[in-house]
C-alpha cells in the first residue's frame, strides 16, 4: 500500500492525466477514440509550444504576461504579409522574428533595465494587443494563398502535423534545457541570481535569452494559429499567458524559479487540453468547466507543496 502511495506521489501529474483519461473514457464512448485523442493533441499543441518559452522564463524566476498579445500581434502581421503577397516561407520566418523582437525588448528591459518582469511584460501585453488592433484598424484578415493553411492541415500517416511541430519544439527545448550551458544557467539564475553572478556567469545575457525564446515561440504560435484558422484576428491568443503559466505550474515548475522542467509543462498542457475536451464532450455547462479547471490548477500547486514539505 505504501509503495502505491509513493508511486502516485512521484508521478503525480502523469497519474492525474491517466485518471482523467480513464474517467472520461468511461463517461463518454467518444472520448477514447484515435480521432478524439488526436484532436486533444492538436488543440493542446499551441499552448504547449508557447508554454516552452513560458517555462524558460519562469525558471529564471520571471514571468511573461505578454504571450497572448504577442501571439495576436504576430498573427495580424502574418495575415497582412500574406495578403500583401510575401512568399509563405518568408512569412513564417518574419512572423516568428516579430515575436522574437518583442521578447528581446522584454528581456533587455528586465535584465539590463532592472524593471520587474511583471511590469515589463504587463506593459508589453497591452502594447502588443493595441498594436495588433491598430495595425489593421481592429479588423480581422482572411483570404490567404491556398498553400498557407497546408502548414496546419497537413498530416503524416494519419498524425496531424501540429503534433510533429510540438515534438520538434520540445526536443529542441529539452536539448537547450539539459544539454546546453544556457539551460543550466536558467536554473541557476532562478535558484539564486546573486550567487550565479558571483560564480562568473553573465546573468543578464541568459535572462534575456529566456525572454527571447518566449518571444520567438509566441511569434511562431501566432503564425501557426493563423494557419490553423486560415484567419487572423487581433483578438486571438487571449488567455494564452494564463494557460501557459498554468501548464508550467501544473507541470511542477515553481513560480519562484529554479525548479521544474519541460516534460512537466507538456503534460500540464495536455492535462488542460484533455480537461477542456472531455468536459465539452460531456456537454458540461461552461460555468462548471471554469470552476473545475481552476480547482485543478490550485490542486496541482497544493500537491507540489505537500510533496515538498513531505521530503
Amino acid at each position: 500500500m505504501n509503495r502505491i502511495v509513493n508511486v502516485v506521489k512521484s508521478y503525480g501529474i502523469y497519474f492525474a492525466l491517466l485518471t482523467l483519461v480513464v474517467v472520461f473514457s468511461f463517461a463518454s464512448e467518444w472520448f477514447f477514440t484515435v480521432d478524439n485523442l488526436m484532436d486533444i493533441l492538436v488543440q493542446s499543441s499551441l499552448i504547449a509550444i508557447a508554454a516552452v518559452g513560458q517555462t524558460f522564463v519562469i525558471l529564471t524566476g520571471g514571468i511573461d504576461l505578454s504571450v497572448g498579445s504577442v501571439v495576436a500581434f504576430s498573427s495580424i502581421c502574418t495575415g497582412m504579409m500574406l495578403v500583401s503577397g510575401i512568399p509563405i516561407p518568408l512569412v513564417i520566418i518574419l512572423g516568428s522574428l516579430i515575436g522574437t523582437l518583442y521578447g528581446l525588448v522584454n528581456g533587455v528591459l528586465i535584465s539590463y533595465g532592472k524593471i520587474p518582469a511583471f511590469i515589463v511584460t504587463l506593459g508589453a501585453m497591452s502594447i502588443a494587443r493595441g498594436g495588433a488592433l491598430a495595425l489593421n484598424s481592429g479588423r480581422p484578415i482572411s483570404g490567404f494563398p491556398p498553400g498557407f493553411e497546408k502548414i496546419a492541415s497537413y498530416s503524416v500517416g494519419g498524425i496531424p502535423v501540429f503534433v510533429f511541430y510540438t515534438l520538434i519544439v520540445y526536443v529542441i527545448g529539452l536539448i537547450v534545457m539539459y544539454k546546453l550551458k544556457a539551460g543550466r544557467y536558467l536554473f541557476a539564475i532562478g535558484g539564486n541570481k546573486q550567487a550565479t553572478r558571483l560564480a562568473g556567469i553573465n546573468v543578464r545575457r541568459y535572462e534575456t535569452f529566456a525572454y527571447v525564446v518566449a518571444g520567438l515561440l509566441s511569434g511562431l504560435v501566432g503564425v501557426l494559429l493563423t494557419a490553423r484558422l486560415n484567419y487572423a484576428t487581433p483578438l486571438s491568443g487571449e488567455g494564452y499567458e494564463l494557460d501557459t503559466i498554468a501548464a508550467a505550474v501544473i507541470g511542477g515548475t515553481s513560480l519562484s524559479g529554479g525548479e521544474g522542467g519541460l516534460i512537466g509543462t507538456l503534460v500540464g498542457a495536455l492535462l488542460l487540453g484533455t480537461l477542456k475536451d472531455g468536459l465539452t464532450l460531456l456537454n458540461v455547462v461552461s460555468y462548471y468547466q471554469e470552476i473545475i479547471i481552476g480547482s485543478v490548477i490550485i490542486g496541482a500547486v497544493f500537491y507540489e507543496r505537500a510533496k515538498k514539505s513531505g521530503e
Binding site: 532562478g190 535558484g191 550567487a195 558571483l198 562568473g200
Partner: protein
C-alpha cells in the same frame, strides 16, 4: 561557578524524526534561573531542532517538557511566547519597514480609550526597553536602517518587553564586530543577574568560556553530556563535540611561497566603503585580511572581481594590468571570489551538488557542443573525493548539506574552473570545529599546489594559524601588513582599532 537557581526549563527524553533523519534521540536538557547554558555541537547535531521544539516551531515526537515545574505541551510559537520563552535567531524576525517601537509591540499595540493606537505610550515604553539594552537609536527609526547589532539588541528589547524568563540566542555573535560582541556580553550578564535563564548556541569556544556557566553537548542527535564551563579543558570540550581529539595549536601556514602574482594598487569603490586598498599575493601563499566588520574587506574583494564598481586603482595579474567590470571578466582571468554568505551569494541551494560544482566551469564538460553528463559526473566525483565532501551522492540538493560541506562544494567550484587567485570571504563562518580544521587543511593544500589564496576572517586565531602574512584593514584602507613575529592578536587589534591600546 555552579548555579543553584530554580529550574526554569526541563526537557526529558526529547526525540524528533524527520524523513530520513533521526534529528534528536532521547535528549535531556535543563535550564536554571540566572544561568547561561551553552548548547554545543557540530552542524546537524540537533541544537537547532532542540531549541525549535522549545520555541514551538517544531513539535516533538517523544518526551516531556516542564516549565517552572509544570508539564506543558508547546504547540506553536505563540504559546511559547506566552510561556515566557523568546528566541533571537540569526535571521531576525523583525519587519524592516516598521519602526523600532512598532516592531517591539507588534501584535500587542496599546490602545487609547477610543480604540486607536496609543502612540505616545508605545514610544515611551519602547524607549524604556531599548534603553535597558543600551540601544541608542531613535525608537521611531525604521528597522531597515538599523545595523545587524542594533537589530539584535532590538530583538532583546522585544524579549524583555514580553517579560520572557527564558531567552534563546542562536549564534548571536556570528555577524558582530569585537566592540559589539563586548556590549552583547554585558547585556547577557545583566539579564542573568535579573534571574533570567539564557540558552546560548555558538561555535566559538572563547565566547563560551567568557559568558557560559554550563554547557550541554549534542552529537548526531544524541545527548553527550552536561559540564560546568569553569574547570573544563577546551580540548575535552572539542573531544565531546567531535567525538575525537583535535589539536588547536596545529598550524596550516603554507611553506615556501613563490613570486608575487597578483597585486592591487590604491583600489577605491564608488560607495566609498573602500578608499585605498593595496596588497599583493604570492603564489603558494595564504594572505589573510583582518579588520572589523564594516572595514571594507568584503567590498574591496568584491571590487577586485568586478562585483562592486571600482572608480580608482589598478589590479595587476602576472605583471599585466587587468580590468574586471563583471564577475565573469574576473573568472575568465582566473580570479574567483567565494562569498561569506554561502546561502545567498554562494550556492544555488535548489540545485544539486554536481551542478553547483560545475556551474562556473561548464565549458570544460562540453563534448561536441553538448554538456556531457559523464564528464560532469567525473568532475563532481573527483572533488567530492578529494575534498571529502560528505553526501549520499552528487544528485542531492545543496541545501541538504551541512555548513562545512557546503563550503567545500564552493571550494570545489572554484577549483574546477582552474583559477589562479582564490579569494575566500569568511570561509569558516558557521562551521563546526572539526570542519574548520578540514577547511584550513584545504586552503593550505591549495596554496601549496601553487594557487594564490586570500582569506578574509574575523577570527584572529584562525588567521594566525593559516596565513603567511596578514593585511589589516580599517575604514576602507589597508593600514598594515603583518608577518612573522608582528603577526599576533595584539598587533592585529592594534591596527584594526586604529592605534587604540588594547
Amino acid at each position: 561557578m555552579t548555579v543553584e537557581g530554580r529550574v526554569l526549563v526541563r526537557m526529558k527524553g526529547i526525540s524528533k524524526h524527520f524523513p530520513g533523519v533521526q534529528a534528536l534521540r532521547k535528549v535531556d536538557f535543563e535550564l536554571r534561573e540566572g544561568e547561561v547554558h551553552v548548547l554545543l555541537g557540530e552542524n546537524g547535531a540537533g541544537k537547532s531542532t532542540l531549541i525549535k521544539i522549545l520555541s514551538g516551531a517544531y513539535r516533538r515526537d517523544e518526551g516531556e517538557i516542564f516549565i517552572n515545574g509544570k508539564r506543558v505541551d508547546i504547540e506553536n510559537p505563540r504559546q511559547a511566547m506566552e510561556l515566557g520563552i523568546a528566541t533571537i535567531y540569526q535571521e531576525f524576525s523583525l519587519i524592516p519597514f516598521l519602526t523600532a517601537a512598532e516592531n517591539v509591540f507588534l501584535g500587542r499595540e496599546f490602545s487609547t480609550r477610543y480604540g486607536l493606537i496609543d502612540w505616545n505610550r508605545m514610544y515611551r515604553e519602547a524607549r524604556r526597553f531599548m534603553d535597558s539594552v543600551g540601544l541608542k537609536v531613535s525608537e521611531k527609526r525604521k528597522v531597515a536602517q538599523l545595523s545587524v547589532a542594533e537589530k539584535q539588541l532590538l530583538e532583546i528589547a522585544k524579549a524583555l518587553s514580553l517579560n520572557s524568563r527564558v531567552i534563546i540566542f542562536d549564534e548571536p555573535t556570528a555577524t558582530l564586530s569585537g566592540e559589539e560582541v563586548k556590549h552583547l556580553f554585558s547585556i547577557v550578564r545583566s539579564l542573568k543577574k535579573e534571574g533570567r535563564g539564557i540558552i546560548y548556541i555558538s561555535h566559538r569556544l572563547e565566547e563560551i568560556e567568557e559568558v557560559g556557566d554550563r554547557c550541554t553537548v549534542l552529537r548526531d542527535g544524541e545527548y553527550i553530556g552536561t559540564v560546568d564551563v569553569k574547570g573544563v579543558k577546551r580540548s575535552d570540550l572539542i573531544e565531546m563535540i567531535a567525538g575525537r581529539t583535535v589539536d588547536l595549536s596545529k598550524k596550516f601556514i603554507p611553506k615556501s611561497p613563490g613570486k608575487v602574482v597578483f597585486k592591487v594598487n590604491g583600489l577605491k569603490t564608488t560607495d566609498r566603503k573602500v578608499s585605498k586598498v593595496s596588497l599583493d599575493v604570492r603564489e603558494g601563499e595564504i594572505l589573510g585580511i583582518a579588520g572589523l566588520v564594516g572595514s571594507g574587506r568584503t567590498e574591496a574583494m568584491k571590487g577586485v572581481v568586478g562585483a562592486e564598481k571600482v572608480i580608482e586603482g589598478e589590479i595587476i595579474l602576472n605583471d599585466t594590468p587587468i580590468e574586471n567590470r563583471h564577475p565573469w571578466d574576473a573568472l575568465k582571468k582566473g580570479i574567483v571570489y567565494l562569498s561569506e554568505d554561502r546561502k545567498s551569494e554562494g550556492l544555488v541551494l535548489k540545485m544539486n551538488i554536481r551542478h553547483n560544482i560545475t556551474l562556473s566551469s561548464l565549458d570544460a564538460v562540453i563534448e561536441r557542443g553538448f554538456l556531457s553528463t559523464k564528464k560532469e559526473q567525473g568532475v563532481a566525483s573527483e572533488y567530492i573525493k578529494n575534498l571529502k565532501i560528505k553526501c549520499p551522492n552528487d544528485k542531492v540538493k545543496a541545501d541538504s548539506l551541512s555548513g562545512g560541506n557546503q563550503q567545500k562544494v564552493l571550494v570545489a567550484r572554484a577549483l574546477a574552473c582552474k583559477s589562479k587567485v582564490l579569494i575566500f570571504d569568511e570561509p569558516t563562518r558557521g562551521i563546526d570545529v572539526a570542519a574548520k580544521e578540514e577547511i584550513y587543511a584545504i586552503l593550505r593544500q591549495l596554496a601549496e599546489m601553487g594557487h594564490a589564496v586570500i582569506m578574509i576572517s574575523s577570527e584572529i586565531p584562525e588567521l594566525l594559524r593559516c596565513c603567511n602574512r596578514i593585511a589589516v584593514m580599517r575604514e576602507g584602507e589597508v593600514v598594515a601588513v603583518l608577518s612573522g613575529n608582528e603577526a599576533s592578536s595584539e598587533g592585529i587589534l592594534h591596527y584594526a582599532l586604529g592605534g587604540v591600546a588594547v
